[in-house]
């Protein structure tokens, strides 16, 4: 059964990617909101925000990238939910294919779609003045963090897609994830926040991830934020993966 796991995943990945190329609106809607936030904060609020950085776009971009991923993964839950509803999921499950390949195809599709969205958002940021002198290693590190973060959130989306009872429910879980960057260092330094809010902001994953990416792009020496960020991403990934697989097993048996 495992001999075909890779081949089956590749075939199913091709199927889901075709869904994306045929409904490019999912990529567009995924990128429009983060780009809109970026424009809003840079050109409306940005002038009044003391970020302590020369360029507010440079300060803002890491948080915008995380919002992009958080809104992108809701489509993974949506696509998975539609597969379950339409019966094609059951068709695959009753065929002699590696059962995990059905899930992995969705997860890899999510990764590809989010990377495309992230590139679009970075290009938009370049247009409005984002600049970074970071070299290839720093960019690779940023890409690595974003990939692990995408995978972590994607497995959360898998849980939502498998257990949702309606289309709305399948994508609603992503709203808190999209809002999380607002209570972090993504838009303003946490020092200005009142005590309890600051305590939350300083200790939630987005702040560490945003700070790590910001340092990497600004060619600052990496602080402990990088390791905290990696720990959060990997931790969420492992927990979400285990829960998703348990949900999957409950769904298919």
């Amino acid at each position: 059964m495992t001999t075909h796991a890779l081949g089956d995943t590749a075939v199913l990945l091709g199927r889901s990617l075709r869904h994306i190329t045929r409904s490019l609106d999912t990529i567009i809607t995924t990128t429009i909101m983060p780009i809109a936030f970026m424009l809003l904060f840079v050109y409306v609020f940005g002038g009044a925000i003391e970020s302590g950085s020369d360029s507010y776009v440079n300060y803002l971009l890491p948080g915008i990238l995380l919002i992009t991923i958080a809104s992108g993964i809701s489509y993974t839950a949506f696509r998975l939910f539609l597969d379950m509803q339409s019966g094609i999921f059951e068709r695959f499950q009753s065929m002699p294919i590696a059962r995990s390949s059905v899930l992995w195809a969705h997860v890899l599709t999510s990764l590809v779609a989010n990377l495309v969205s992230l590139v679009v958002v970075v290009l938009a940021a370049l247009l409005i003045g984002f600049r970074s002198g970071a070299g290839a290693p720093a960019w690779l590190a940023v890409a690595g963090i974003l990939v692990v973060f995408t995978l972590a959130l994607t497995w959360i989306a898998v849980i939502a897609g498998l257990s949702a009872t309606s289309v709305d429910g399948a994508s609603a879980f992503s709203y808190p994830l999209i809002l999380l960057p607002f209570i972090s260092s993504a838009f303003v330094p946490t020092e200005t926040m009142p005590g309890p809010v600051r305590a939350f902001a300083d200790h939630q994953p987005v702040t560490a991830i945003v700070n790590a990416i910001r340092d990497l792009l600004a060619q600052q020496p990496v602080s402990t934020d990088l390791w905290v960020a990696i720990a959060w991403c990997v931790g969420i990934l492992v927990v979400a993966y285990v829960l998703a697989m348990a949900t999957y097993r409950r769904t298919i048996s």
Binding site: R18, R22, E90, Q93, S94
Partner: protein, 275 residues
């Protein structure tokens, strides 16, 4: 009741399944001979779909045993999946792909050589060649169902499960599905179909079992089932054309004269109403 020496294609004994407190199957026994069409008849909620899901390895039974093509559904699920195809209650087709892409997808997942050739062959057999490159979301209900069944035939499975295959179809599409099912049985495929339409069972099945409140209450050929009731009375009734006769006669005429290029072969395949 089965006297052939060959092992039945489907063999079920004492199958039980509950969803929490709700007992759906309370001990189902049935055998389906190879190459026959077996109809599982029952009203909504009788447990027909549950039986099909257990036999197609999607659901585990609480107790009892079931073998398909000689393989135990619980212990040898992979072998069972190699022997079967499931056409579920709702056409399990990918709406965003074209009809041809759907078929190629399944052929690839079954690791067959020449997926494109297999797809083209089935498109022809099910009168879908013209619609092959169109997205399935533009297909009519009958076309979807035909594609659905075509997808189930890929890899020549020995046993095919059809769960309410004509649910929601118009009479023409239903007749096409019936013909497809008859063709299957002629090619030696074993078909287990569930239905709530009595005439469907009557038209297609070699044997009919009635599932009621979690048990099979009768199981036999149509003739045997009819003998369960008092002998037929002879009554003289004026034979009026049924509404279905009228509908089919009118619509078939329309299709034949309306579009001679395609209408002759597949009247329903040319219906254009989007769904």
């Amino acid at each position: 009741m089965i006297t052939e020496a060959v092992r039945p294609a489907i063999h079920v004994r004492g199958l039980q399944k509950s969803y929490k407190a709700l007992e759906v199957l309370k001990g189902v026994d049935l055998d389906v001979a190879r190459g026959s069409i077996f109809a599982l008849l029952g009203s909504n909620g009788a447990g027909k779909t549950t039986v099909v899901k257990i036999l197609s390895t999607l659901l585990r039974a609480d107790s009892g045993s079931a073998t398909v093509n000689g393989f135990d559904v619980a212990e040898q699920a992979t072998d069972v999946r190699r022997s079967i195809s499931l056409t579920g209650q709702f056409a399990a087709v990918d709406e965003i792909l074209s009809g041809r892409e759907n078929l190629v997808l399944v052929a690839r997942l079954r690791h067959l050589k020449d997926p494109g050739g297999i797809a083209d062959d089935l498109l022809g057999r099910f009168s879908l060649t013209e619609a092959a490159t169109r997205r399935v979301s533009t297909y009519s209900g009958g076309m979807r169902r035909r594609l659905d069944i075509a997808m189930s035939l890929i890899g020549d499975p020995q046993v095919i499960f059809l769960d309410e295959p004509t649910n929601g179809l118009d009479p023409q599409a239903r007749n096409e599905v019936w013909q497809a099912v008859r063709d299957l049985a002629e090619h030696g495929t074993t078909v287990l179909l569930t239905t709530q339409y009595l005439d469907e069972a009557e038209q297609l099945a070699d044997r009919i079992a009635i599932l009621h409140q979690g048990r099979i209450i009768v199981n036999g050929t149509l003739t045997e089932l009819k003998q369960l009731l008092p002998p037929a009375k002879v009554e003289y009734v004026e034979r009026q054309p049924t509404l279905e006769d009228v509908f089919l006669a009118l619509v078939d005429d329309e299709a034949r004269t309306g579009s001679p290029a395609t209408g002759a072969m597949t009247p329903a395949g040319t219906t254009k109403e989007p769904r």
